[in-house]
């Protein structure tokens, strides 16, 4: 549609001073790339999770044993 195209033309001032007022805008925090985890760290976290799980099971067992005699 060439007619539509010709009806809009950009305006670029060729003379005089062009000034833009700088308005301070609020800033967003930046996007965060997530750091990859090292093998040791993953192993450490896995071990810790397993250890916690083991302790929880142990405690559950003990609680059951305590309830049984009644």
């Amino acid at each position: 549609m060439p007619e539509v195209k010709s009806s809009f033309r950009e305006v670029l001032p060729k003379q005089g001073q062009l000034s833009v007022e700088d308005i301070p805008t609020l800033v967003l925090c930046k996007p965060k790339l997530l750091p990859l985890k090292s093998v040791t760290l993953e192993k450490l976290e896995k071990m810790q999770r397993e250890a916690q799980e083991a302790i929880r099971q142990q405690e559950a067992m003990q609680r059951e044993q305590q309830h049984e005699p009644k």
Partner: protein, 516 residues
């Protein structure tokens, strides 16, 4: 009738196949029948050690106690470029916080976390305690031995008959004389029992044993570098860094081993002498040219000193030697991303890491971000979807939603963005960045009070970020509350001294106050 395998051989086979639990079970049976079977005993110690073994080079956690009661500090205010503790002391020109987010200790976030990078060095005790306890922030563990102790007690609790070896009843001097048993025993005590005091007493007896042996068999025994390295490791765990240094140095005189260089460098880093550590790494490289772990060590120090350009150089050297090195790829990738080249970052993350088989939430999140900023919109949302499905913890989910919020802001869908940031907070209500971004969105909707509340929360959670302080200053200035605006601007200046807009606000306010 089936022929049964020799139990010791079976145990060995289990050990080689890394089935440590079965191995130790078989060994226990052998030991029940013949309690003095040294082979089975030694194998069981090794199996138990392997179940909890962590590479000692990587483990370096500083607790609050270690940071606050640091006796080895020489100067309170280090000269620029000589200290790891003050993040701003580099001349390398790190990325500004305006483009790259910073961690709680004021360093740009890195592309890779290790156990040691997790705990940054907070400046004061107050800051150390106030930091929220999440995996991503730099709150130090209360004491470095805390985690080791916990792992140790867990393994003991699960064993109904009590610990395998009763250390207090062990005649260490006797074992120290048997070289084939003493090394496995040492590793067991060091890794499994975490009883450093006992290990070092074993060592004192060990050196006594060496003394005796030395008198008998000349000085041959004194020259065992392995024991010296172990002694150094014990000293390091005990916090006696100078003694550890001596042991490692003397071990290096006997035998050049890469590990010893790494341990020694760790000591220097703990003593806050990065330059010495760097020269040490370079000496190590003279003996072991192109050694990847040494090169990585250099790169890490440069990165910690905010000298990102040279860190990248060294990471590139690492990739020349080992082009599947995940840490190097991740760090270079994140540098390209924050250096405004997301296409190249995308290449690192996709064609190197993804094709290599790294498959986790973090990688897909990074891929999604890189795709979005590199204008490959077809892959963006599917990457984020996969990241969400792979997220292992609430914090990870929160971070993925936070980044999705940025994508929403980028396509102009502010309602979606608002929802994403809300979801971030639902998963992790300590997420300061999300609070700040929500505040900005609220202000666009014209809800000033709500925005102010969000900003205040963000400021109190993350005083190290400049964004909430700066936004607070701008907002207060608009409302006419010049005093709070000035205070917030000053905090923003502390966090990011070169920020031009903050300077502008401060200048305006000072003029205002002068007129009054």
């Amino acid at each position: 009738m089936a022929v049964t395998m020799d139990p010791l051989f079976l145990a060995w086979s289990y050990f080689r196949r890394r089935k440590f639990q079965q191995c130790s079970d078989v060994c226990s049976k052998i030991l029940q029948d013949s309690p003095y079977d040294q082979a089975a005993w030694s194998l069981k110690t090794r199996a138990l050690t392997e179940t909890v073994y962590i590479d000692e080079v990587d483990v370096d956690q500083e607790g609050i106690a270690e940071i606050m009661l640091d006796e080895s500090a020489i100067a309170q205010v280090a000269r620029p470029g000589t200290s790891l503790r003050i993040p701003g002391t580099s001349q390398g020109g790190g990325p500004s916080p305006a483009v790259r987010p910073v961690t709680q200790s004021g360093r740009p976030i890195t592309g890779f976390v290790r156990p040691s990078t997790q705990s940054g060095r907070p400046g004061t005790m107050e800051q150390a305690i106030r930091t929220p306890r999440t995996a991503h922030t730099a709150r130090p563990v209360s004491s470095s031995s805390g985690r080791f102790v916990r792992l140790g007690t867990a393994s003991m609790l699960t064993n109904p008959d009590g610990p395998f070896i009763n250390l207090s009843r062990l005649n260490l001097a006797k074992y120290a004389q048997k070289p084939n048993l003493s090394k496995t025993l040492f590793e067991y005590i060091f890794h499994h029992e975490n009883d450093i005091k006992n290990v070092s007493t074993q060592f004192i007896s060990k050196t006594h044993a060496l003394d005796l042996a030395a008198m008998a068999t000349e000085h041959a025994q004194f020259k065992d570098w392995w024991w010296k390295v172990q002694l150094g490791k014990c000293y390091y765990r005990l916090g006696l860094y100078r003694e550890a240094e001596k042991q490692f140095r003397s071990a290096l005189n006997h035998q050049e081993v890469v590990d010893t260089y790494l341990y020694l460098a760790k000591v220097y880093q703990r003593l806050d002498q990065p330059i010495t550590a760097l020269t040490l790494f370079k000496q190590g490289l003279d003996h072991f040219p192109g050694e990847v772990t040494l090169l990585t060590g250099i790169a890490r120090i440069h990165e910690e000193m905010n000298n990102v350009t040279s860190a990248t150089e060294y990471y590139k050297d690492v990739l020349k030697q080992d082009n599947t090195h995940v840490e190097a790829i991740a760090c270079i990738g994140s540098n390209h991303f924050y250096g405004d080249q997301p296409e190249i970052a995308l290449r690192f993350y996709r064609s190197r890491l993804l094709q290599m088989g790294v498959y986790n939430c973090q990688l897909y999140n990074n891929l999604g971000l890189c795709c979005f900023y590199a204008q490959q919109y077809d892959m963006t949302l599917s990457s984020f979807e996969r990241a969400l499905s792979l997220a292992a913890s609430d914090e990870e989910t929160a971070d993925v939603w936070y980044n999705l919020g940025h994508v929403a802001v980028g396509i102009g869908d502010l309602t979606l963005a608002y929802q994403c940031f809300k979801l971030t907070l639902a998963n992790n209500n300590d997420h300061a960045e999300a609070y700040n971004n929500l505040a900005v969105l609220e202000l666009r909707r014209g809800r000033i009070e709500q925005a102010k509340a969000f900003l205040q929360t963000a400021c109190s959670i993350a005083p190290h970020m400049y964004e909430p302080h700066f936004n607070m200053a701008t907002l207060s200035e608009k409302v006419g509350d010049l005093q709070s605006s000035y205070m917030a601007a000053q905090k923003s200046e502390d966090a990011f001294p070169e920020h031009v807009d903050t300077q502008q606000i401060l200048k305006n306010l000072r003029q205002h106050f002068a007129v009054l």
